[in-house]
């Protein structure tokens, strides 16, 4: 029997969780002696009050779409890929190698090449934990955490000792050649007669991220592989009985997950900094967890949740600029969203289910 109508599951529960997270965040702001209403007003005007604000909001949202989709694909196979951060770092390395060492005639081909580079290295970084999970039963959460740290050390080593141009002191690669520079939303929208801020970093990667969301939707709900992934996630033993190879599904879904996480690098590394820097992930690998949980692992939900988190990120940066509220407020909000939509899901769900069962009984 259906305990609850589908709309309640998809819309009501995330909204209640979000409300709880927002209410507690408001209390936190009150607790540190600031005015939550003024803070929200400032976040709204800073993040969506101008095309400049939108440009940043969408730039951050692009990162979160990639990492959120990555976590979501793994969730469908009932795996918790906490290694988005490390996979994204390797993706950054892929972008840098492809952009620096292959002469590209035009940004369109460079974008394809760099996307492939980013996805390949991101997937490669997810491959080892996936194989260890599938063949040797090592818990994927622990191995992907370990791989995050190994990736950080590796990137640090490569940037300081190998990829850094001799003349420079920064731990970063040389700037990418001009032919690989991606057009920003300003460049894309101006020919259409829409004026968009020139300074904002949102770029054509946003389109790639949206395409990736469509790809994930098609993959999960319209292909045989997606069906197998979902079946495996629902019940491993039933999937095995139906002739689905658990090793293949574990490895393939982690490869897709890692590839998506790696592709966020085309936004930050190719689109914004135009060279590989140490902090290229900007913490987006972890925000992907919050985004996937809030979006209920559905690509459409992930896109919406990414925009919400993009708004929070840009709004939080504005707050840090103009008030004494530090940027870490975002980390707190992110924690609360993960807590309420993920860990405390049953706390919200159980009373609602009871309520709907009662309602149905009264009707019947």
């Amino acid at each position: 029997m259906q305990k609850m109508p589908a709309w309640a599951d998809i819309v009501l529960i995330p909204l209640i969780s979000l409300f709880l997270a927002a209410a507690i965040s408001g209390l936190v702001i009150l607790g540190i002696g600031e005015d939550p209403v003024a803070a929200v007003k400032m976040m709204v005007s800073g993040a969506v009050g101008s095309t400049y604000g939108w440009g940043y909001t969408l730039y951050y949202a692009t990162n979160f779409m990639f990492t959120g989709l990555a976590v979501a694909v793994a969730f469908h196979a009932r795996m918790f890929n906490i290694g988005g951060e490390g996979q994204a770092m390797l993706g950054g390395l892929g972008v840098a190698l492809v952009a620096l060492y292959i002469p590209w005639p035009h940004w369109t081909v460079a974008l394809i090449g760099c996307s492939v580079g980013a996805a390949l290295l991101g997937a490669a970084w997810a491959y080892v934990p996936a194989v260890l999970q599938a063949k040797r039963g090592s818990h994927i959460v622990i191995t992907t955490i370990m791989f995050n740290f190994i990736a950080a050390a590796l990137l640090n080593y490569l940037l300081v000792n190998i990829l850094r141009p001799p003349s420079s002191m920064d731990p970063a690669t040389a700037s990418f050649p001009a032919s690989t520079h991606l057009p920003t939303l300003h460049d894309l929208l101006t020919p259409l007669g829409i004026s968009f801020s020139k300074a904002a970093p949102a770029n054509v990667s946003l389109v790639v991220a949206l395409l990736a969301a469509v790809f994930v939707w098609l993959l999960i709900w319209r292909t045989k592989l997606g069906y197998e992934i979902r079946a495996f996630g629902q019940s491993e033993s039933a999937a095995k009985y139906a002739g689905i190879n658990p090793i293949k599904i574990t490895v393939v879904s982690m490869l897709i997950s890692g590839g998506l996480a790696g592709m966020m690098a085309i936004n930050t590394t190719m689109g914004e900094s135009e060279r590989l820097i140490l902090n290229m992930t900007e913490g987006a690998g972890f925000i992907g967890i919050a985004v996937a949980l809030m979006g209920r692992s559905h690509p459409f939900g992930v896109v919406l949740a990414s925009i919400l988190f993009g708004f929070l990120y840009q709004g939080g940066a504005e707050l840090a600029l103009w008030t004494s509220i530090p940027r870490e407020l975002i980390v707190v909000i992110q924690a609360l969203v993960i807590l309420f939509t993920g860990a405390l899901d049953n706390m919200v769900r159980a009373p609602l289910e009871k309520m709907f069962i009662k309602l149905n009984r009264n009707k019947g």
Binding site: I142, I145, I150, A153, N156, I289, V332, A335, L339, L344
Partner: protein, 323 residues
């Protein structure tokens, strides 16, 4: 002789650096042995580090600070218990949330209380754990080798270092020689059996999570009031995860936890002195390699190439009573 002095310095800092790892590792041991995965060790240590430093600074008493640190860590443990035991949520997701909550809240509160960019003011005097001089340090000072070893390595640490070391046999005794320990291990392997015997699964798991909170609290307080003099943003720097790695390395056993924490502490100590490796081994080792080594070793162990690390059977699964 120089080699002896260098060896002594490195051993000394190994012990200092292994202490927070050991406390956090034993914390995770209790929790995971009871079937509650805890990747929130990092967050609990961080929260304890901040609150112990803040209270120690304000009150001038490091012991009040230690209590505050334990209280902060316990509060997060309670949250983890609520999410993963009472509401049967995903323990891993709850742990991730706790890590972020601590990372954000400590900076937010630190900024609001002290306005120093997310840190506490430096601690001094009674607000820090002083190093203890064990008896006979002076009497033994004249002896060759033994004197310096006693003075540098064995004596001269803060009381928390000795407490952490004492926790190893204590944990072993509690887990393997008491009724509580037997039940705690059972609840991590077969909670349904424990339930059938009429013992509360929920009660046992909550007490394990609380022990974990206390130990993480001491670990965090040690970081901020003994190892360093005050709290700085993100000061645990992944130690909670290294402790988790050490726990796997130790295959969830107390004495092995000591050895693996000493090993990882030694790697951290070497990463601070790369010049020593070059001096004695004659080649240059990248610091980044030493940073990554604990994680690489853990992956190798996890892969089962060097003996198999089998976690408690019911770990990570919320217990649902049969009806």
């Amino acid at each position: 002789m120089q080699f002896f002095i260098d060896l002594l310095t490195v051993s000394d800092s190994t012990l200092r650096l292994a202490t927070p790892l050991l406390l956090a590792c034993l914390a995770g041991l209790f929790s995971e042995r009871a079937g509650i995965f805890d990747i929130g060790l990092e967050g609990k240590m961080l929260a304890a580090a901040f609150f112990s430093a803040a209270v120690a600074f304000v009150s001038g008493s490091v012991f009040l600070g230690l209590l505050a640190g334990i209280a902060a860590s316990l509060a997060l443990s309670l949250l983890h218990g609520l999410a993963s035991i009472t509401f049967r949520g995903n323990q891993l997701i709850s742990g991730v949330a706790i890590n972020f909550l601590a990372a954000g809240m400590t900076v937010l509160v630190a900024q609001s209380w002290f306005q120093q960019g997310g840190r506490t003011p430096s601690l001094f005097g009674g607000a820090r754990f002083e190093s203890l001089d064990l008896p006979f340090t002076n009497a033994l000072a004249g002896l060759p080798f033994l004197g310096p070893i006693y003075a540098e390595l064995i004596s001269g640490h803060s009381i928390l270092v000795y407490l952490a070391l004492a926790c190893v046999p204590a944990s072993w005794w509690v887990l393997y020689r008491t009724r509580f320990g037997l039940r705690l291990r059972a609840v991590g392997e077969a909670p349904e059996a424990v339930d059938t015997a009429g013992i509360s699964v929920v009660g046992l798991r909550y007490s394990a999570v609380m022990i974990c909170g206390v130990l993480c609290g001491i670990a965090g307080a040690y970081m901020a009031t003994a190892l360093q003099a005050g709290f700085v943003k993100d000061m645990t720097a992944g130690r909670g995860y290294i402790a988790l790695a050490a726990l796997i390395f130790a295959k969830w056993r107390p004495w092995y936890a000591l050895y693996s924490c000493l090993l990882f502490g030694f790697l951290q100590a070497l990463a601070l002195r790369p010049d020593l490796i070059e001096k004695y081994l004659g080649f240059h080792v990248q610091v980044q390699l030493l940073d990554a080594l604990p994680y690489v070793l853990t992956v190798i162990i996890l892969a089962g190439f060097v003996g198999k690390a089998i976690p408690p059977r019911a770990g990570g699964e919320p217990y649902v009573k049969e009806r």
